[in-house]
């Protein structure tokens, strides 16, 4: 387990996403209203880049025609076959127990803490006065 600085918080606005590479692993970082989440950029179905998918709300219904739209921006849809994944958990909607994309813990840390370590800042220069997105793999 190691922690990697992958971006400055300011680079990923709310609702935005950024594809980063951590030790060769492609990981998409999402900002959901200030909470950051990381998913493997690989659909477990056939390997498409999830990062290129459309971000949607969760659409649900308890009865025919009774459409409910909730959790705006929290579902990513694979660009190839439209499978939906929960950005918070990596679980698919269609088969959450078995079909999921790997989720990586993400935290926000102030630059002042990062310069003391034990973080790995491979490509992101760290300034004491900024906040950074840190992924653990």
């Amino acid at each position: 387990m190691s922690k990697h600085v992958v971006a400055a918080v300011a680079e990923i606005p709310a609702g935005g996403r950024k594809l980063v590479s951590v030790q060769g692993r492609p990981i998409v970082i999402f900002n959901l209203e200030g909470d950051f989440f990381g998913l493997m950029n690989r659909c477990p179905h056939q390997g498409a880049d999830l990062c290129a998918g459309e971000v949607m709300p969760l659409i649900s219904a308890d009865q025919p025609g009774d459409y409910q739209v909730t959790r705006a921006g929290e579902i990513i849809r694979c660009p190839w076959h439209g499978w939906e994944f929960d950005i918070r958990t990596g679980q698919s909607w269609c088969d959450p127990a078995r079909v999921r994309t790997r989720r990586y813990p993400v935290e926000v840390a102030p630059g002042a803490a990062l310069v003391r370590g034990p973080y790995v800042a491979e490509t992101v220069p760290v300034a004491v006065e900024q906040d950074y997105v840190v992924v653990e793999i």
């Binding site: 659409i59 009865q63 025919p64 025609g65 439209g82 909607w93 088969d95």
Partner: protein, 368 residues
């Protein structure tokens, strides 16, 4: 005449005590139904000279409509109670059998005439068949042309516990998922009656979606597509969400088209489920829960037990299959009413346990 051949004795061991979920008493003609009609309709059928309401899907003279050794010397297939008793009941050692009458009331262009014929058939089957043998049960035939009249007919007869199912043709005027048909599903659910969907069409539109076929071969083979469309319509329109205890029985569907259809529907649902968000489970799971199928015909290579066993595995639910002979329709010869490759414990489920679980009213007949 009750000649027991050695082969029939073997059959009796497999099907002894079975519940036959699809037999077809035949309506000899409209005259047989007139005693069960109102004065208006009695008079109308005679004055207007209307008769011959046999379904275009089962012409009485066609080979499919009657097995050669079950064809009566005179009259239409399935019209003789003594033959039904000897061939369909005693012939297989049947404990209970469900009569599914196929006649023009279910497909008539006129809603009121259709309702009159259906209603007469129900009273006729009760008086002349159910009363003739305690092993017989029946489906309520209803005019799907007018769902509100169908619901009234269900209400009228649901109190007679010998009616164990509601019967609809596979192809009606609209897809069965449409809310137009909700009164039928509502009445069925209220009375705990499964709805049997039997091969056959109202022929309001071409039996295949891209044109009119020229031959019976195409017409009959393509019926399985109709069953697929009806199932998917009911799943995607949310019928099983709205009516969570509704049970559908596909009768004479051919069965073996099911696995590929289930895979295809699940695969597509995974990508587009947000357009039908009330479909919360994969269509295959919904269908396995709500839908049952009779096993005549079972489309598979003859006598290839491996293929049949593989198909049953792919269908993925032992409780889905129901025994049927489809008497007097010609689906098999001799006593081979069950496809080869059905293991004895599964045979027991298909012939007894599954029908009892599917049709709650049959449990009353077999209670100690």
């Amino acid at each position: 005449m009750n000649v027991v051949l050695p082969a029939a004795a073997t059959a009796a061991r497999v099907t002894q005590g079975a519940i036959d979920c699809d037999i077809h008493p035949g309506v000899p003609g409209i005259a047989a139904l007139l005693p069960y009609m109102s004065d208006f309709w009695k008079d109308s059928f005679v004055r207007r000279g209307m008769d011959g309401f046999d379904l275009a899907s089962y012409p009485p003279g066609a080979p499919i409509s009657c097995r050669p050794d079950w064809r009566p010397a005179t009259g239409k297939p399935g019209t003789d109670v003594a033959q039904l008793r000897a061939q369909a009941l005693d012939g297989f050692g049947t404990r209970l059998a469900i009569c599914n009458t196929l006649y023009g009331g279910q497909v008539a262009a006129s809603e009121t005439m259709g309702a009159a014929i259906c209603s007469a058939i129900n009273d006729w089957i009760a008086a002349e068949w159910l009363a003739a043998d305690p092993r017989l049960r029946a489906s309520i035939v209803v005019p799907a042309q007018a769902p509100h009249l169908a619901a009234e007919e269900i209400e009228r007869l649901a109190g007679d516990r010998r009616f164990v199912q509601i019967l609809l043709p596979a192809a009606a005027e609209l897809l069965y998922g449409k809310s137009y048909y909700w009164p039928i599903w509502q009445a069925a659910e209220k009375h705990g009656l499964p709805v049997g969907i039997h091969a056959g069409s109202m022929f309001r539109y071409a039996p295949v979606s891209n044109g009119w076929p020229s031959h019976y071969l195409h017409d009959y083979v393509s019926q399985s597509q109709v069953f697929e469309d009806q199932l998917l319509s009911m799943v995607s329109e949310g019928v099983f969400v709205r009516f969570p205890t509704l049970r559908i029985v596909l009768i004479e569907s051919g069965v073996s088209w099911l696995p590929g259809f289930l895979w295809r529907s699940v695969k597509t649902w995974r990508g587009v489920r947000s357009e039908v968000p009330w479909v919360k489970q994969p269509p295959a799971e919904i269908i396995r829960h709500h839908v049952r199928l009779t096993v005549q015909p079972f489309d598979a290579p003859k006598d290839d037990a491996d293929v049949v066993a593989a198909l049953v595995r792919q269908i993925g639910a032992d409780e889905m299959l129901l025994f049927a002979t489809d008497w007097p329709h010609w689906q098999f010869d001799g006593d081979r009413a069950l496809p080869a490759g059905i293991a004895p414990d599964l045979a027991r489920r298909i012939t007894v346990d599954n029908p009892l679980a599917t049709y709650p009213r049959l449990q009353e007949a077999t209670a100690p």
